[in-house]
């Protein structure tokens, strides 16, 4: 009896989640399975893709959207099989100089580099962009966080072979609270 009421409660919770999370409908699968009452509490992933990579490119990037679960969480790491890439890191592309650690941007890109004399014929349009590793990506409860070009991305370092359009691979995401989730990443040439 206890198990049944717990399951009922979880179904109700899922119904609320489904209405508020605007994510995909993976929660309905969970709802039909009384043994997986905790699955829907974690973040849900949608639209995972990676851009195809030229043969000469050593690195690639994967993108996806995360919809927060019932409580705040953090994406803390990601991994792929060693047949795909040697290393995976969470990165963010930022305007150089914006980086919180100040280890690089502030002193180097804050102003246009004027060479000796007056060789500059145009003002530099904008601060440069740079990537920096991030410790974690915050995933607030019920909020959608997008990892997309020019922002957060999952960097695939030391690609074993080029990422080819039409291929797919498994990506394991590790959340601080919800633990691991495996998603399939489609290789495409555009979102």
């Amino acid at each position: 009896m206890k198990a049944r009421s717990l399951a009922l409660a979880s179904v109700l919770t899922l119904a609320v989640l489904g209405a508020s999370a605007c994510g995909d409908d993976t929660t309905s699968d969970a709802a039909s399975d009384e043994t997986t009452t905790t699955l829907a509490a974690g973040p849900t992933i949608s639209g995972a893709w990676a851009r195809n990579s030229p043969m000469e490119a050593t690195n690639g990037a994967a993108y996806l959207a995360i919809t927060g679960g019932t409580s705040d969480d953090q994406l803390v790491s990601a991994s792929v099989d060693s047949t795909i890439a040697g290393k995976v890191e969470l990165h963010e592309t930022v305007a150089a100089g914006d980086s919180g650690d100040g280890s690089m941007g502030a002193t180097t890109m804050g102003a246009p580099t004027t060479a000796a004399g007056d060789t500059m014929t145009a003002t530099t349009l904008a601060p440069a962009m740079e990537m920096r590793p991030v410790e974690a990506v915050e995933v607030p409860a019920g909020k959608k966080v997008e990892l997309k070009p020019g922002g957060y991305h999952i960097m695939l370092l030391d690609l074993v072979q080029p990422l080819v359009v039409g291929d797919s691979f498994d990506l394991t995401l590790t959340f601080a609270e919800a633990g691991e989730q495996v998603v399939t990443v489609e290789v495409k040439d555009a979102p």
């Binding site: 690639g60 349009l125 904008a126």
Partner: protein
């Protein structure tokens, strides 16, 4: 927040430029795109360009960089008569910004159709230590088979070119770990006079790039 129509010289440019850069993506998607005039605009009814017009217009006609080929012949930043030359400064280990920009450009040229024959492309590596001639050429040609890859080990030469375009980069090779690279992420349009007539910030859509090219070529 307003959209900037051009970038003037002077110290205030930095805050303006920073604003443009940081907000570029959202501005473009929010319908704030058509801010630039000039270039090939030919009358009051002309659509405004999506890119940024730099003022004064940079003249890069006297500059060159070596082609990333065994002959390493100097490549001049001047388009063929009536055509346009697109110039990008990037590197192949860049997983996010560079391939996104090149893929968007590829999509734009496809949308442009036949007039894309009048558009040539050059990309200079800002990471020559890792990007050998073969690497930067192969990388660029995977996007654009007829594009010209440029590479030099002479940092001063590269710096004088990027300065002239209004581009910036910083490449550091620490003793251990991954090199650190940052770069301005504009794609520059050069005309047949060697004038940089337009610059697209990162995040400009392929549709906007195609429309700008169509207008500049008209």
């Amino acid at each position: 927040m307003t959209c900037q129509t051009s970038v003037a010289r002077g110290p205030r440019t930095w805050s303006i430029a920073a604003t443009i850069m940081v907000l570029a993506a959202s501005m473009w998607s929010a319908g704030c795109a058509n801010t630039a005039t000039g270039g090939g605009g030919d009358g009051a009814g002309a659509r405004k360009l999506s890119g940024v017009v730099v003022e004064p217009v940079p003249d890069v006609s006297a500059l060159s960089l070596p082609e990333a080929s065994p002959a390493a012949e100097p490549f001049r930043f001047v388009a063929d008569g009536g055509d346009l030359l697109l110039v990008y400064f990037g590197y192949t280990a860049c997983p996010d910004v560079c391939p996104t920009t090149l893929a968007d450009l590829k999509a734009a040229l496809k949308q442009l159709g036949a007039p894309s024959k009048q558009v040539s492309i050059a990309m200079a590596t800002i990471d020559p230590r890792r990007d050998t001639a073969d690497v930067i050429s192969g990388y660029l040609h995977s996007f654009f088979p007829s594009a010209t890859a440029l590479r030099t080990d002479d940092d001063a030469a590269l710096r004088s070119v990027t300065n002239a375009f209004g581009a910036s980069y910083l490449t550091e090779y620490p003793n251990t770990g991954e090199p650190r690279v940052s770069h301005s992420a504009y794609l520059y349009v050069v005309d047949d006079q060697g004038h940089v007539v337009l610059a697209w910030p990162f995040g400009t859509t392929s549709a906007d790039i195609a429309l700008d090219l169509e207008q500049l070529l008209a």
